[in-house]
């Protein structure tokens, strides 16, 4: 297991390094970075001052090393539009986004697995048909429209929950639900088909033939069915972090999505770059956690990365 974890950690670090390198060189492809960083009405002298203050007059490899050092120490430069260090802007926004994305994710995971598992075990029933119809609906409704419907119902008509803002847990519920709909539907669908497949397998028949209690049987089915769901859930969680842009703007939630829109409108290059780097970091970390849980769930994954299993002794 240890070698498996180290292996995955190394892969994650390499992926991280490749992405930040691409981000660095893409920025240099876009022409004169100093001119991009400077406001549109800057004089040549001001552009030159920016070039020096950002180290853009240095050779590229020195800039690259400086950039890497900055990432390692979480020093991502200075935001032009906010006149603050990028890290101080992105990290709190990322924490807000994480709060929203993780709440939505927990809703999607718990409800999605519960709906899908019961549907899979009662395939063909009325309940199953209802779950399938709901998942198609959940995957087809765009989050901004669902968000507006939720506001209309729960904020305006019923007055139970705030329509926007970030005042405590109640203001988290509506955006999290709007965000959760799509992954919830995907997870429910995959759980259903996965459970259905495991129920039909020989191993379930063999488990039944042991005469075990329904609880033990369900535990076996769910653990086996969870393998593809874990992979999907990891991807969905990553997508939720970047998919918050629309929902954050709709509900005025002060997360990375909103910050990114403002940074793009202000052409705040250092800030955009910082957002991309932090997003990548979060994404790679999430995929690492998915791999870890995969290794924890499936013993075949654990042992395949280490030495060959010992050969069976034969005697009859």
């Amino acid at each position: 297991m240890t070698s498996y974890i180290l292996n995955r950690l190394l892969q994650g670090l390499i992926a991280m390094w490749v992405i930040v390198t691409i981000v660095f060189f893409l920025a240099r492809l876009g022409g004169d970075a100093a001119a991009l960083l400077a406001p549109a009405d800057a004089t040549p002298e001001q552009v030159e001052a920016i070039r020096v203050s950002y180290g853009l007059d240095q050779p590229v490899y020195l800039q690259y090393l400086d950039y890497l050092r900055g990432i390692v120490t979480l020093d991502l430069g200075q935001s032009v539009s906010y006149r603050q260090p990028v890290t101080d802007l992105v990290v709190p926004a990322m924490l807000n986004t994480a709060q929203l994305a993780l709440t939505g994710f927990v809703i999607a995971l718990v409800v999605g697995i519960a709906l899908g598992a019961v549907a899979g075990m009662r395939a063909g029933s009325r309940y199953d048909q209802a779950v399938r119809a709901l998942s198609v609906l959940g995957q087809s409704v765009p989050p901004f429209w669902l968000g507006m419907l939720l506001v209309l119902l729960f904020s305006i008509t019923l007055g139970w929950l705030p329509a926007f803002g970030s005042e405590g847990f109640t203001s988290l519920i509506l955006p999290a639900c709007a965000l959760a709909a799509f992954p919830l539907a995907s997870i429910a669908r995959l759980t259903r088909s996965s459970v259905l497949e495991i129920v039909g397998r020989d191993q379930t028949l063999f488990e039944r033939a042991k005469g075990v209690s329904p609880a033990v049987l369900v535990a076996h089915i769910l653990r086996n069915a969870s393998l593809p769901v874990v992979t999907l859930a990891g991807i969905q969680l990553g997508a939720m972090f970047s998919g918050t842009i629309v929902v954050e703007n709709l509900f005025a939630w002060p997360g990375v999505g909103q910050l990114a829109i403002q940074a793009i409108q202000a052409r705040d290059y250092a800030l955009i770059q910082g957002i991309v780097v932090i997003n990548t970091l979060v994404f790679v970390a999430l995929l690492f956690l998915v791999d870890l849980s995969y290794g924890w769930l499936d013993p075949r994954v654990r042992t395949n990365s280490s030495a060959e299993p010992q050969k069976a002794g034969v005697s009859a």
Binding site: G211, R300, A312, A316
Partner: protein, 317 residues
């Protein structure tokens, strides 16, 4: 020990009721071993699955008949009673241990699930003893391993250990050697025979190979199209079959065929479950079929040597 009387089991395919076993009557006294022989679709697995009550709606159901294990009628058992029966009385050896064992659980936890009567502290000791007696070397060190760390033959021994951990009265083996290498097959067959003798296990052995059955069983029931066409002591039936299908099955697996000689296959293919002929199911492929065979199902005739058959025109040797 196991008495099956007039069992009829249906499958429900696409809203259609399909009989997979029809009027099956079998009797397995305590400690005896009976082979159920037949091709795919003959209903032999359906009988085994009916005994374990694995065929339930919406897939299918037992339509008629009685299955007695000890004093209990399986066809009337509640789900709770059936679980109790499976947990204490019936051991099941699967066809392919690779797909039957759960890949995510250690073999220890999979065996423990099947031995609820053993007190917690003694479990490991009992499992190691059981695995060792089944020919698994260094069993204590292998308890924490998972199925993928075992070879095919060893996996089948683990599956047999699961079947035996409950100390059952009845052992149902569903083609237990089909998925194994030829060299490991003999070992597993000998093991099953030894276990039956040592533990007085009543054994129901499902196979398509009547010659494999000879290594383990004293009795045989030959099934075709959901019907038992011939049954009785294995040596009697194999040496002197009355039903043309048994004859053809023995010829098809005959060992005295040389190179460049034609194998004696049975022409045609088994009848579809959805379009079963009204008479004898073998009639369309039978060399000695008459009009009567096509119209009416023959009754069972007993022979003086203990065998019985269902045929209008039995083979005379």
């Amino acid at each position: 020990m196991l008495q099956i009387t007039n069992l009829t089991t249906h499958y429900f395919f696409g809203g259609q009721v399909t009989p997979a076993a029809r009027g099956v009557t079998l009797n397995l006294p305590k400690g005896s071993a009976m082979a159920i022989v037949g091709e795919s679709g003959s209903g032999k697995s359906t009988v085994a699955m009916s005994v374990m009550r694995m065929i339930r709606p919406p897939i299918g159901d037992i339509a008629e008949g009685e299955i007695r294990i000890g004093g209990t009628d399986v066809t009337r058992a509640t789900p709770r009673q059936m679980r109790e029966l499976l947990r204490t009385q019936i051991g099941f050896v699967p066809q392919d241990p690779t797909t039957a064992l759960d890949p995510l659980y250690t073999i220890r936890s999979q065996i423990v699930e099947a031995m609820p009567h053993v007190e917690r502290a003694r479990r490991d000791e009992v499992i190691v003893e059981l695995l060792t007696s089944l020919g698994i070397v260094d069993a204590a060190a292998r308890l924490k391993q998972h199925p993928h760390q075992f070879s095919g033959g060893m996996r089948q021994r683990v599956a047999i250990a699961i079947a035996l951990a409950k100390e059952p009265q009845l052992l149902i083996a569903d083609e237990p050697t089909t998925a194994l290498d030829v060299t490991t097959q003999i070992g597993i067959l000998r093991l099953l025979d030894r276990l039956r003798r040592e533990r007085h296990l009543t054994t129901m052995f499902i196979t398509h190979n009547i010659r494999v059955a000879r290594l383990v069983c004293q009795d045989v029931a030959v099934m075709y199209g959901g019907v038992v066409v011939e049954s009785g002591p294995l040596t009697v039936v194999a040496d002197n079959p009355s039903h043309p299908y048994t004859r053809a099955l023995l010829d098809a697996s005959s060992l005295d065929v040389g190179p460049r000689q034609r194998l004696r296959a049975i022409s045609g293919s088994p009848p579809s479950l959805t379009a079963m002929p009204p008479g004898c199911p073998f009639a369309p492929r039978c060399p000695s079929a008459t009009d009567l065979c096509h119209q009416r199902m023959p009754a069972t005739t007993r022979r003086p040597d203990g065998a019985s058959y269902a045929c209008w025109n039995p083979v005379t040797s």
